[in-house]
Subunit: 255 residues, 2 copies
DNA sequence: CGGACATTTGACAAGCTTCAAGAGAAGTGG
DNA sequence: CCACTTCTCTTGAAGCTTGTCAAATGTCCG
């Protein structure tokens, strides 16, 4: 099960020094200066591991802090009182979560792990400290907030306007490319630790209909999902079905 | 047509000095220091008026800048190539738009005016200048980005999980409260310069079904929309229908 | 091997969309 | 100021995508 890829090492612990961070060794992330690294390290409280299926925090929690996902997969979600759940977006290594909690008395969404995950937790006033001490890092935070917003926009377009098959095509392309940009691919297959229920809840579809639509795409020979891995056999055709042509940025900032 | 309310004066021009800004005179916005006011003014390029139904910029435009909505109503949207349109959120005075364009080579959404609007346009490097010179203002920018994200989350929950009537109840409550927080109410009615098509496109519903659902809520005596004004007769009941209990912050930062 | 959970399939119901057309409101020009 | 045009709102009818209920098959793991 051990992988060479640094972004797949969910079983390994997070190093003490940010300078030794596996993420920062990846070409997918901006290089930080020595001073910035030291600063980030000073703002880092601890590492928190969350087993698959467990929550980092849930809706209504108070004092949920600011986190960077170090390894593994997770997702943000909101629920209605009767249990309906909407997955807002999926979190991959490097993603920042908890920015909204900075400005709200209690958390407005939950975060749950899909695989075993490690989060780096930052101090309560880390955002303000960053803003006053390291504008370049703060710029990165805004960059990230802005990109999350971009994906939420895209997802809103999806759930609001696209049909079931279009939605699924869009989500699969999106995740496929994000993992690709992070160097998580293995040959022509991407990791995909989602269950169909996650896909359904992310796209506003029922589980049954999600399954039927997935089968349809499979029957058309366009996709294959097996053993937690996703293969796209007709990326261009899927792109046209979904009318989705976005590509994730190849290099991202990291807090 | 002339109102006493400073936030309704779409027909009036924006003052030269930010210190004279009508928005800043409202208790809905944080007070800025003298230095901050001067700084913001130095970053402001000009005022741009956009007539109702016209675009501030459209998808694919390059070099769209950073704007604050000074007066009037507008909305952000995305479209699919076949014409389907999703309204992402509605913009009210004080709202910041164009942050995403800072980080993208071309704009990923359009902005269209619902009423006659005035936008304050900022310089290309205003964000970076703010970050380095006025962290408190930059904190406000992140606050705003975070709150937009919060609404997008809420809207995603809506389009993904709620039924037509629930969606409409949610949107009407949301807009009702936002206008209320801005002091735009007139007795028990709120301004609502939307057509049913806007409501439909914001919620991912067809125009016809939107109309039917609106009629239903009207027949139940819960709402009334007439002459561009919205009245809610059973706010609590609507709240329970939508399972939507959020309230907008009473005081917001302003760039 | 057994139990829990995920996926798959069938049948039916329902909510929503589409097509179509009339009624009302608002803007335009003579 | 009124006739004309155009846009918005409203309502009916039919059809389709999607949801719900139910149960079988497959898979993982102790």
């Amino acid at each position: 099960m051990s992988k060479v890829n640094p972004l797949s090492m969910s079983e390994l612990d997070c190093p003490k020094r940010c300078a030794d961070c596996r993420l920062r060794a990846s070409p997918s992330f901006h290089r930080a200066s020595e001073a910035e690294l030291q600063f980030v390290e000073s703002q880092r409280l601890r590492t928190r591991g969350v087993p698959a299926g467990q929550a980092l925090f849930v809706e209504g929690d108070t004092g949920a802090g600011l986190f960077t996902l170090y390894s593994g997969w997770a997702f943000r979600y909101k629920t209605l009182p009767d249990g309906r759940r909407q997955i807002l977006n999926f979190l991959l290594p490097g993603d920042l979560v908890g920015l909204q909690e900075e400005f709200a008395s209690q958390s407005v969404h939950g975060v749950e792990a899909l695989t075993h995950t490690l989060f780096c937790e930052f101090a309560q006033d880390a955002l303000w400290n960053t803003l006053t001490a390291h504008p370049r890092l703060a710029y990165g935070v805004i960059w990230r907030a802005s990109h999350t917003e971009q994906f939420l926009d895209a997802n809103l377009l999806t759930t609001g306007q696209r049909s079931a098959v279009e939605r699924i095509a869009m989500l699969l392309i999106h995740l496929y490319r994000r993992t690709e940009a992070l160097g998580m691919h293995d040959g022509d297959s991407a990791p995909l630790p989602l269950q169909q229920l996650h896909i359904a809840d992310a796209l506003g579809l029922s589980l049954v209909h999600t399954n039927r639509s997935l089968r349809r795409l499979h029957a058309l020979g366009m996709i294959s999902i097996a053993k937690g891995r996703l293969r796209l056999f007709a990326e261009r055709k899927l792109e046209r079905i979904a009318e989705y042509y976005d590509r994730p940025p190849s290099v991202q900032p990291l807090l």
